[in-house]
Symmetry: C2
Subunit: 287 residues, 2 copies
């Protein structure tokens, strides 16, 4: 599939790249492939409720200048068919099947939040497939605070859905809120062929997967110790969804890691500080 | 003093710059000034027991390419006369007096360990003097674990003084130990006009200052909240002297901060990862 004429053309951007579909064990997975061809692709693993349209074009387009970027909807999410499973391990298997369906033997992973839980699982269990990993706004098995997901989300939605992502991904400072508004505008830059929202069934399964992940125990951090690949860990200081201390815990147990925590930023630190984030990712992937 | 013909000449390096002396309220302070002239100087604030010779030329020379670098021995340390005080606050006042004696109205501070305690004090209390701050291997007032200083140091010295800095600043991995050995070699690159070791009296006063700093309380982190300047915080994941969690705490309470924690590194993470450290400092100081 790497030579598919419609994928990864550098002419395409986040805004213009057509959605494609690939058969993954009987399910139809939607994906968007663009950016520089020929190198190891970056597979983006998305957060709770998110679709391909929830990736920030300031990040995807900037990374696409030097990398092959692949966004996708995991099983049952938005335009991908099938039933979304209710465990991180099954979601990791689905993502793995998707990567195999595209025919890649080596990839980099960029996982945000729930996508970071999935990325850890794949990186630990498939060391030859995964070269490098970027973990944003995420944490280990048993992450402190993520079992509170529903109350945190409800609080984020208290003044309506329009402000929910700003409430949940940014802090209460004027600077961070302004960054959140700019982020929300960027999410609308793609106007054609937008994803449908995730169904309540998918959101329920994802919520169960996240909360279960929070109750699971991995006291010796066996999964993190199994990750020998280079890992870049980023977050804001004030993550409401996956509390920032979990990023610190990741760095304590992933031997080949670099942790970055930005001040006055939340779960969406990678979008608030998208220039610094892209710069760090570029250096991380190139060395 | 900024036009002193013998200071800050770009011809000089860490290895070749002559030691100069300046009168600071009746004490004679030793300093070394080199690098690019005309901008805001970086004042380096040194760790427990350290002298100017304990700065890594891989860091100082690299930063000197684009910045005016000033190393000094604080009151009573090595070649500086006077009696080393036994509190961080007094050491901060001495450093402040030194900066004023050189005639600077604005500086950047780079504080390592005890030097970081001092840098926080100056930055919080003198916002117009201090433009930006780099804090390495350090923590806030009441830092967790630093009251164990003596047992940690004794453990570091258990196989003799030659290995003490490697034991205390690096981890037990082969890679980190090798980085430690390379660091130790770099510390010997300057052969002329080396500093004398700190006296036991100075070391005792510094130890008391550090342990007292660990017992002090600043529960609301008033000092950190008072620091509004941009602050770059760095450490390794496995700091034995100022446990790494203290760097995380700094980032939680300094609003305009960026935290970096390198994997498989200790207190001396800035020396183990000197290339990444210099790159980060350059970007931090330039933006």
């Amino acid at each position: 599939m790497q030579s598919n004429s419609n994928t990864g053309n550098t002419v395409f951007t986040h805004e213009t790249v057509p959605t494609q579909y690939v058969d993954v064990k009987g399910s139809k997975f939607a994906y968007r492939s663009f950016g520089k061809q020929g190198g190891i692709p970056i597979i983006f693993l998305q957060h709770f409720t998110g679709t391909m349209d929830n990736w920030d074009p300031a990040v995807t387009n900037a990374l696409a200048k030097n990398h092959h970027v692949i966004l996708f909807n995991n099983k049952g999410v938005s335009t991908s068919s099938g039933k979304t499973p209710d465990s991180v391990a099954e979601m990791a298997n689905d993502a793995l099947d998707f990567i195999k369906a595209l025919g890649y033997s080596q990839v980099d992973l960029l996982g945000f939040s729930l996508g970071g839980f999935i990325a850890q699982n794949i990186a630990a269990n498939h060391p030859s497939l995964v070269r490098k990993v970027v973990l944003a706004g995420t944490g280990p098995i048993g992450s402190e605070g993520i079992t509170n997901l529903e109350s945190v989300i409800n609080e984020g939605f208290k003044d309506g859905p329009a402000n929910a992502l700003i409430n949940l991904f940014f802090t209460k400072s004027e600077e961070s809120i302004n960054a959140g508004r700019a982020f929300m505008k960027r999410l609308q830059l793609r106007t054609n062929e937008r994803d449908t929202p995730s169904t309540n069934e998918t959101i329920g399964a994802q919520a169960k997967a996240i909360i279960t992940f929070g109750y699971l125990k991995d006291d010796d951090h066996k999964q993190l110790s199994a990750i020998k690949q280079p890992v870049l860990i980023v977050n804001g200081t004030s993550d409401l969804i996956v509390p920032s201390i979990n990023s610190y815990v990741l760095s304590q147990h992933i031997i080949n890691s670099k942790l970055i925590i930005w001040g006055d930023a939340g779960h969406g630190g990678l979008f608030q500080y998208h220039e610094d984030f892209v710069r760090e990712v570029e250096i991380f992937l190139s060395k």
